[in-house]
């Protein structure tokens, strides 16, 4: 019990932004992931729908998040992700862990990784998998 408490405290310092860039309204996945991350002890901020890359970057900076998670199911990832990456870089949030989830064809994943995305989760990925990945890879900041 005591150990679990400590673990929760440690995790509560990980702040995650769950964002929906573009006009895509499919928010089931984003909301489920946001809840799962919150239940896993992270601090979660959800942007809501229809965000421009600029709005996503602003929210990430404002909340000083460790992790930016983009949920994209509209096929617009190749256009939107590079803009978010460029914005984060420009804003100096260079150590944030950037993950993308959604309908991402396998052949697009190398391009996204080359852009600076650390991990892409596609349909069928488990909640535990996402939680574990973030725990293991979120940057430690004081």
């Amino acid at each position: 019990m005591h150990g679990q408490k400590q673990q929760e405290n440690a995790q509560s310092r990980i702040r995650v932004l769950v964002a929906k860039p573009g006009l895509d309204g499919h928010d089931r996945g984003a909301k489920v992931i946001a809840r799962a991350l919150r239940d896993a002890g992270f601090e979660v901020v959800y942007t809501g729908l229809h965000q421009t890359p600029e709005m996503v970057v602003n929210a990430a900076v404002e909340e000083d998040v460790h992790v930016v998670g983009l949920s994209i199911l509209s096929g617009a990832h190749n256009a939107l992700v590079p803009e978010v990456v460029a914005g984060l870089k420009k804003a100096g949030l260079t150590d944030a862990l950037l993950v993308v989830g959604g309908i991402i064809p396998d052949e697009d994943i190398p391009f996204l990784k080359q852009q600076g995305v650390h991990m892409v989760f596609t349909p069928g990925a488990g909640l535990g998998e996402v939680v574990d990945y973030i725990k293991a890879n979120a940057p430690s900041r004081s």
Binding site: K31, T122, L127
Partner: protein
């Protein structure tokens, strides 16, 4: 065989025999326990091992009152008296991607393959009322559907197709009034008589705020746009289905079967009330309201849902709104297999899922059906996978024999009690929404949205614990998954060419005529007049989708959703 009441139908004897049987069952299960402690539907409703006449009796089952005959009130068994013997369900595959020309080709392919009606998918910018050159839609033009920015695009979309000879369904909601105006203006240009313009506009804005999340203005003015189109079409286009009240997106967003049913019907009731409040007579518009439900994996639950839907709607329309025309009582519905049930893993398995779901939709008595393609969880479907999906329906229709019989599950102890239960649970939700002041108020409180999010999360947790199974995802996984499917790829050239076409349209159009038409849209909006006529004139003057929507946004404001989860 002797006629009349036989001993085997004596309820007391049945109950006694059942009690004896249950003892034996217990003994046998003590030796060999069931595979699971709970057996539930996909929506997590516990189902009995066996249903008997005693269950029907306990439910107060009344055949004539609750089930009756097909084509007759309360339509539990279907809306036509001979159902698919008279006419098969309409096989209508939803299609739309890239440019209007690309989609036109797919439409012609589907018609040539025996499809009976068209169904149009629009891209995200179009669904939100933005043109292809808006920075908001960067990267999304032509991706999830076809980009339609002006009457020129609409013309290219239906090039070579006589709008008087096909029925067209258009899946658009926030800017539906503008897209409808383009379609009607095109039909007029083709010389089609208004009574021959047939098809369905989705135009169900309430489920957008609940689930699909593509909108233009806040809830109340948006509902009045819907009422405008109902009023306009019931006078001028008598065979056009003005609203397709949709549970599909609600279900796909994570709702249970009961939630899908309840929220959809409550949306329908909200439109009916808005029309009545505007002074329309229920029988003048209700016959043109249609529905659209999901058909998910749980075979019996889905069939029960369709049966309960027809019964609840018929009773609501007759008892609550005093509709007298039987066509106002009938819930006519389209159905689509559940996109959310498809898996990226082992995608060929999706063909089987779709077939099972399609069968449930047909046994549930749907009037029209879209079967999903196996590759839709990876991308928009290819020609080949769309063909398999269409052939799935054709095989069911021509080879399985299910269309020869009306409502074969009618009278089943289990199906009738399940239908009753789905109905009861949905009515309890509808009551709750009524108590909140109706669906508009419930949406503003975030009620259906949070109920759906809860169900979606609950299901995901069940998957994580292997309490629910998705084959290939959390059981029977392939050791090494190779993705061998070819998928459809939409490149950015669609966006570029749409942007160029828009610039040319704006350069070429008659500026004073355009200005005048937009001014009239604004005036109608500011004065609470019906917007359909002025918008038809505006699109004829080559106003673009976004120009009309921006005019509406400037009068009514924009909708913002709180980012809760």
């Amino acid at each position: 065989m002797s006629k009349g009441k036989t001993e085997g139908n004596d309820m007391e004897k049945i109950k006694k025999a059942q009690a004896d049987w249950e003892k034996k069952l217990k003994a046998s299960e003590a030796k060999k326990p069931p595979r699971s402690v709970r057996f539930t539907t996909l929506s997590d409703m516990e189902v009995p091992l066996l249903s008997t006449p005693a269950d029907l009796e306990a439910d107060g089952f009344d055949y004539l009152r609750d089930v009756g005959f097909p084509g007759e009130y309360p339509y539990t068994r279907g809306v036509q008296s001979n159902m698919y013997r008279g006419k098969l369900w309409t096989m209508r595959q939803f299609a739309g991607f890239g440019s209007a020309e690309d989609t036109n080709k797919r439409f012609k392919m589907l018609l040539a393959q025996g499809q009976m009606g068209l169904s149009t998918a629009f891209d995200m910018p179009t669904l939100m009322g933005y043109d292809a050159d808006s920075p908001k839609g960067k990267g999304e033009v032509g991706k999830c559907g076809v980009s339609v920015c002006s009457i020129d695009d609409m013309e290219k979309l239906f090039e070579g197709i006589n709008l008087g000879e096909v029925t067209t369904s258009m899946t658009i909601n926030g800017p539906a009034i503008v897209i409808l105006a383009m379609y009607l203006a095109l039909a007029e240009k083709q010389g089609v008589r208004p009574e021959d313009v047939k098809g369905t506009l989705q135009n169900d804005i309430l489920k957008e705020y609940i689930a699909q999340k593509e909108w233009v203005v806040p809830v109340k003015p948006a509902v009045s746009f819907v009422t405008d189109t109902i009023e306009y079409c019931s006078k001028l286009y008598p065979n056009w289905n003005t609203v397709s009240i949709s549970g599909y997106h609600i279900r796909e967003a994570g709702a249970t079967a009961v939630q899908e049913l309840a929220f959809t019907l409550a949306d329908g009731l909200a439109y009916v009330e808005d029309c009545i409040a505007r002074g329309m007579k229920v029988d003048d518009f209700a016959p043109r309201l249609s529905f659209f439900f999901d058909v998910h994996n749980d075979f019996f639950e889905e069939i029960a849902k369709f049966r309960a839907a027809r019964r609840i709607w018929a009773r609501m329309m007759r008892e609550r709104y005093k509709a007298e025309d039987p066509r106002s009582w009938m819930l006519r519905t389209h159905a689509q297999t559940a996109g959310v049930s498809l898996t990226a893993q082992q995608p060929y398995n999706n063909i089987v899922r779709v077939a099972v779901q399609a069968m449930a939709g047909i046994l549930g008595g749907t009037n029209s059906l879209h079967t999903n393609s196996m590759d839709e969880t990876l991308a928009l479907p290819t020609d080949e996978s769309v063909m398999i999906a269409l052939r799935t329906q054709q095989i069911i229709a021509e080879e399985s024999g299910v269309g020869n019989v009306v409502d074969p599950f009618g009278g089943s102890y289990f199906m009738e009690t399940l239908t009753n239960r789905v109905e009861r649970d949905a009515l309890a939700y509808i009551q709750k929404i009524d108590d909140m002041g109706g669906m508009v108020a419930a949406i503003e409180k975030g009620f259906p949205q949070s109920e759906i999010a809860n169900s979606a999360y609950h299901f995901q947790r069940q998957l994580e614990r292997n309490e629910k199974i998705m084959v290939g995802v959390n059981k029977y996984q392939a050791k090494e998954e190779k993705r061998s499917l070819n998928t459809l790829y939409i490149d950015r050239s669609v966006e570029k060419s749409q942007v160029e076409k828009l610039a040319e349209l704006r350069r070429k159009r008659n500026k004073p005529a355009y200005d005048q038409a937009i001014r009239q849209v604004r005036e109608a909006a500011e004065n609470g007049k019906n917007l359909c006529g002025p918008i038809v004139e505006a699109v004829k003057a080559y106003a673009t989708l976004q120009e009309v929507c921006d005019t509406l946004r400037s009068v009514f404001g924009e909708y913002r959703e709180a980012g809760s989860f």
